[in-house]
Every structure is written in structure tokens, then in C-alpha cells.
Symmetry: C2
Subunit: 493 residues, 2 copies
Amino acid sequence: MKPLVFNNTVLRDGHQSLAATRMTTAQMLPAAAPLDALGFGALETWGGATIDSCLRFLNENPFTRLDQLKAAAPRTPHMMLLRGQNIVQYTSFPDDVVETFVRCSAKHGMDVFRVFDALNDARNLRTAIRSVKAAGKHAQGAICYTTSPVHTPEKLAALADELVAMECDSICIKDMAGLLSPRITYDLVKTIKSRHTLPIVVHSHETAGLALASYMAAIDAGADAVDTSVTPFANGTGQPDTVRMQAALAGHPRETHYDPRALFELRKYFEGVAAELTKFMSPANDRVDSDALCYQVPGGMLSNFRTQLVEMKMADRFNDVMAEVPVVREALGWIPLVTPTSQIVGTQAMLNVKFGRWKNLAQATIDIALGKYGRPPGPIKPEVLALARKQSGQEPVTGRPADLLAPRMPALREELATKKIPPTDENAVLFAMFPRETEAFYHPKAAAPAPVVVTPVAAGNASLNPPPFTGKISRYALTVDERRYETSVEVIN
Amino acid sequence: MKPLVFNNTVLRDGHQSLAATRMTTAQMLPAAAPLDALGFGALETWGGATIDSCLRFLNENPFTRLDQLKAAAPRTPHMMLLRGQNIVQYTSFPDDVVETFVRCSAKHGMDVFRVFDALNDARNLRTAIRSVKAAGKHAQGAICYTTSPVHTPEKLAALADELVAMECDSICIKDMAGLLSPRITYDLVKTIKSRHTLPIVVHSHETAGLALASYMAAIDAGADAVDTSVTPFANGTGQPDTVRMQAALAGHPRETHYDPRALFELRKYFEGVAAELTKFMSPANDRVDSDALCYQVPGGMLSNFRTQLVEMKMADRFNDVMAEVPVVREALGWIPLVTPTSQIVGTQAMLNVKFGRWKNLAQATIDIALGKYGRPPGPIKPEVLALARKQSGQEPVTGRPADLLAPRMPALREELATKKIPPTDENAVLFAMFPRETEAFYHPKAAAPAPVVVTPVAAGNASLNPPPFTGKISRYALTVDERRYETSVEVIN
């Protein structure tokens, strides 16, 4: 029986999914050696939103983080999430920027590059995968799972064929929204395994409470690895926790044997980190959210929706907008509902309800229709395509979107020099994606604010630390069940 | 392929597990007809702690509740949880009281009696099962699942043989602590199915986040039914929610087809009920609790433990006490850790750590050792048995504990008459179990307090409704993320 391995995502997706990507390198480092010693298949430590968060919120150089984590956990392969041609941003970058980013990441110690494209357009993966192979690293091609009439196991498995043709070293089934069901997972893994011998990793989220059961089905179908995390940066909108996943395999022919005591110590450690990150942890985001199942859209999309509808004074149209979502999705070729496409679809659904169907096209809708994000999984509705052409005065992009982009590296290096930022490749790729944030990192206008560390003052019940009541408006730091809220109170009568 | 059915537990275990059994009949009735129309295998509507709660907290006659629910949901069989010789209490009752209770329940419309004994001592089930059969109703014998060296699938399946010999109509695998893993579930169901043809129901809790995956394994092994509930009285310490369980079966040969729209409406309804029961819903009790997996004890036991250790000024001995738990459990014949045995084991573990092992035996420990609760799964440690005999001056009970109890029905009727309570069979059995509460129900000393209904005043963020700040101590009603906290604030400097 083939051994099963767990990857651990706590240092990347764990806190990205459950704590707004706010874990600092200082909070990660004490856990790095214990994580390294546990013998996971890979440690996901970088990429996704962490690079943005380092620069935007944490005043950290992302490459320094990678250096430090690699030094602290040298034994286990490090893994990162790479958004193909988008690198770790939301729009396409020129090939030379993608190549440089991958080369720099490899130089700083990254081992496994998990590369995906939200539209599953293999052309958006090509440059990244080729760069990873050129750096002598492990290229893992990802298949984004979503549900639609055009996302059949056969179609998704066909992408696996393309990934294999691009010489990927392994394949990841990436279920961002937690929509995989056990039976579909089983069929998908079996279908790919029947055609290819390379390893398959399954990555899911417990958003709808199906991930662990789907992992079990994947394991029965022969998957080689699954992604798990550490409580409290696990379960809910994150990956299943390692202890739980291991418990689920008790007595299974492929059961794992990660040291329970070490896992328990890690959990205790990360509970302390979570207490420091209280203000970023949504009270409900580690719960099962059957909204995702009721509406067939990702859980996070719904809370955004509700807020936006209130802002647009359309709160009473919620059901109409929800009913419009599949209409928009179908018209845009059944694009997966993931950031940023979930927002594009949601916004267009609201516009359709408010102004009449296709009376008002958002710019992003036009861009999707014209193929600027890549080739959608299904055809664009002719009526919408015609409107997009007319309103933009542009013709659809039929080739690879990045083919339209000129090389930028020389210009980026010059711009860095002008701005008195060391013109390294690392800085150039960061500046390409996050120009304002990178500049602010090197030239902070004021001293960076100290990182916020919230220490819970009481557990179990509400506590209040009120200042003397001196005026009409008073500010309170409220700590309720270990969550801190900064509030202001205005006496209005 | 044999059809799969779901039972629905929202009206009993759903709120017992997630809202301290506080759902009122008035809150249940609007949901009864929609639940009835969904076509569940059974609706669990009564028994367990609900009868105690009706009398103690809700000022309701439990039999009136049953009458009303039965009238409102006449189509689906009603199911109750019965603690064998303990009826719905914690100690043994004479056979005539058990018989009368079952006869009254059947008369008021109960259809399916799920009968269990915490020690899995079949002798404690005999009278109840015989009474159910005599009333022409469905007797479902339950096997309590727990983990220990003596709780092998073969030993547990042997209890199934006894249940079949007692002419049970079906068998329930009852996993109170949510410790079943998929593989063990599969083996257990397969083992029983290989010997018997009667239907098997699996009942678990998501406490450790394994229930849904274990249900999937049970279904693959041929189980006939699983217990589900309705969000927000589902998941966490409760059963998996119906929508989620059905989603997990998508594409499965035995997939179910409960109306998603009706389920969604029910969920919306019960969200309103949960808002009314906010003060009884623990903020964290619908989350995955891997404590249960780390310590191999039920989640609820740990929070009690921590509180008790603080009270006993032993908070620093937590790990010692946890390490002592399996020692005590083994000495008491590996009794399952369920209320009340979890408290008995926990208390003895604390006493052992505080005073030295077996230096101070609690009365309940002595009773367990002497067989007063029934026959434990394994042998009592001779040293502990000798101490129990010496300290109590009593010999062990080797027969069925209830054989030592004289009939009580005539005396109970007399006592009711003396107390001016209508001397019906219904009142007699309630009075036998809950004398003070039954008397208070008929002769309230003061008007019953109005039920507390907490209406959330804001969602999403903290809000404060402060009274004018007039003195040193001020009371605030705090609503944070839809939870209301009544607090007082004292300015101390």
C-alpha cells in the first residue's frame, strides 16, 4: 500500500483563510523547527496572499521571510501557491516578470511551486511552469475545482493531460470553495490516476464541512497527499486540521503516524498566535457554512454580497440577485467563482437586477468576455460578447493574454533606481506587483506602526475596560470571549 | 441498491447538544409540519434530557409536548431516547416504573424507542425493550460506542447479538462522544450486518469533526439510516446537518433527495429560534473540538474538568489528572466516558492526584466498583474492589441492579394523591424521576417566570446600549456578533 503524506498549510493558507493572512514571520519562526521535524510532505510557507500582506500590513520583506523560514525549517520541502501569469496578483504580468519571480523564489529556497489559473486556462500556467523546471524545482500543476455543466470530471482530467504535457512533477486538485463531494473527488482522482502515474495532491477547505470526507474518498482512490493545517488555523474556511485528519484514518490501511504529542504542542503554540491575531479572526469563520451548499457559491462571497446590497439599497433583492448569479456565470462561460471572478460575477448580477439584464456591463465583465483573463471554461454568450465589443470598441483576445504584454524587467530596474530602491530582481518583481507598497517599505513616510498585539484580558465572559466617562463620545476596548473589539459609544439622547 | 434514510434529531438531540435542551414546544410546533412533510425515517422528538428540561426549566408537561408534536407531525414515526432501566434519569428504577413509562409514552404516540445503557449491560435494557414490544412499538437497541482495549468491534457486535435475541426491531450504533472513525464504523457495521438482517442506524456527533466521514463509511458498509439535524442545531457537538450530509452524498449510488428548498426554509426558521436561545448556545459549541482527539475524552468533559480543577486549586495539575483518567477508567472496567460516568471517572482522577492513588474513593466510584450501575465492560481492578467493599461494608451486586428494587407504582400513586397531584400513570412516572420538579409544575409557589427571549439588536459588530453613567457600578447589555451579554462595570481607579 502506497504511503500517504500530509502537507501542512498553517504558515500560508491556514492563516490566509482564517486570520486575513496576518501571521507575522516572528509568529511563524518558533513553529518552523517543530513543523520541520514532523516530516510533512511539504510545508506551504509562502505565496498566495502572504506576499501582498507582508508588504501592505506587516512591514516585512517577503523574501526575508522566505530566507528565515527556510533556515528554520531546512529539512521539509517548502511549497508556495503561484497564480500562474498573475504571479501573486490579480492581473497578467509579462513573461520576463514571471520568470524572474520564479527564479528569485527558487534562489531563496522555494522547492515546490503549486501553479494555478482561476480559469483553468493552461496557457496562463505555461511560463510559470517552464520557469520552475528551468530552476530545477518541483512544478505542481493545479486544477481548480468548481461545479458547472462544463466542469465534468472528464474535462477537469483533460487539464491534467495538459499539465503532464507541460512536464509537471505532480498535480493538485485545488478546491478553493470547499465544494468537492466525496464521490466526485473519488471519480476525479481515479480518472487522472487511470491516465497518469505522477503524484496527486488534494487541497480543499472545510467551508461547507465536506473536506475531510472528500479527502477520505481521495485517499481511497489513490491520492498521494492531502493538505492539512493546525488548529486554530484549520477547519472552517481553512483545511482540515492534522490531528483530525489523522484520527479519521485510524485503522485505515494508509493511516499516518505524525507525532500526536508534537502536534498537540504546535496547536497550543498556535492558539497563542491566534490570541494575538484576535481582531483578524472572524468569530464564525471556523464553522461549517452550509450557505455554500444552499446557494452553490463560496461562503465568503455571500457576506460580501449582503454588505454590497445594503450599500446599494438593494437588501430586499437578495434572492433575485442570487438567482441571477448562475445566469451571469453561464453567460461568462461558467467561470469559477473564486476571487476575483466571484466579485465580477456578483457585481454583474447586481447590475442586471438593478438596471435590467445586460443593460449595464461592468468593465471587468467586458474584460472577461473579451478573453483578457484567459479562455473561460465554456463559450461566452453571444449577446454579452457583442455588447462587450461594442462598448469597449475592442476585439476579443484569442491568444494567450500575456502575449500582448511587452517585457518589463529593464524598465522596472530603472524605475527602482530612480526611486532609490535597491534595483535587485527581488525588488523589481515586488515593485511590479505592489508598487506603492514596495516603495513604502523602503521609504516609509512615517515610522511604521508597531504590530498590533491584542492580549485577551479575560476568557469566557464579557469584560469592559471603560475610560472615565467624560464626554458625548467614549471609546471602549471590549473583550468578549477572548475577542477584542475597539468600539466607540455615542450617547444620542 | 438499498435506499438510505435520514432521521432528524433537531427537536431532541439537536437542541440538547447545542442549546442546553432549552427549545420550547412553542418553538418546535411551527417546524413540526415541514419536518413531517420532508419524509424522514423518524423524527426524534422526545426523551433524553428533554423531559427533565420541560419540568425543570420550561414549565411544560412533557406528555403534552408529545401530544402536540404528534398531532402536528402525524405522518413520520416519532422517536425517543430511553436510558434503559434509568428511563430518562441517571439511576435505576424498578421494573414497574419502567413498564409504566413506556406504556404511557406509547399511548401518547411514541413510535420508535431507542434504548441504551451507558455500560452496554444488556440486562439494563431488558425491561424497557420488553415493554416496547408489549406496546406493539418499534424497539431499537443501542450500542454505545467508546474506545478502550475491551471495546473491540467483535465485543460491540456481540451486544448486537443480545439485542437481536431480545427481539429488537433495529440496532443503533450510538457514538455519544463523536469518537467513531470511518474505518472502525465500516468494520462495526459490516460485522453486525454479516450476522443479522435487521436495520442499522448510526448516530454520531461532530464534536471531533469525524461524524460525516464516519456516516459515509457506515453507508458504504450498508447502514440503513443515519441521524442528521438542522443548522444551527447541528454540527459541532450535535449531529451533521441534513443539507451537508445530503451534499456529501452527491453522486453516491445511495444519494438522498430531501427537498433542498424545504430544508433551507427550516434552517431559516431554526436560526430565528437559535436567536431566541442565544444565552444557552455556547459560542464555541458548533466548532470542531480536537481536544476530544488529543485527550481521547469527550469535549464537554474537559471544560468541566478545567472549572473543577480551578475550584480545587489544582489548575497546575491538569496534565497529571488527564494522565490519571485512563488509569481510573481501566480500574473501573473501562467504563465509557459519558454522563454520568465521565464525571465519576474525572472526579476520581482528581482525587487520586490530590490525595494519592485510591487513597480517597468517591461514593460513585464505590458504587460503580460494586456493580450498582450494572456490569462494566471489563473487570474491576481487585485493589479497588477490595477498597470499595471495605469502605462500604457491602458486597458487590452480581445480578441485575434493578432486581434489588421493589415495585413503586402503588406507592407513587398514593404519594401523588397526598400531594394533590392528579394520580395518573403519567404523573407517577414523572414524579418517580423528578419529584420536586413535578410537584412544582402542579403547585408553583410563585408565578412561573416568563420565558427569556433575547432579541439581537445588531449583527456583525459590537454595539453598546449604555445607560447614563451615574455611579461606580454600571450595567450594560452588550450585543456582539448577535450574542447578548449582560455585564456590569465597576470603575476601580
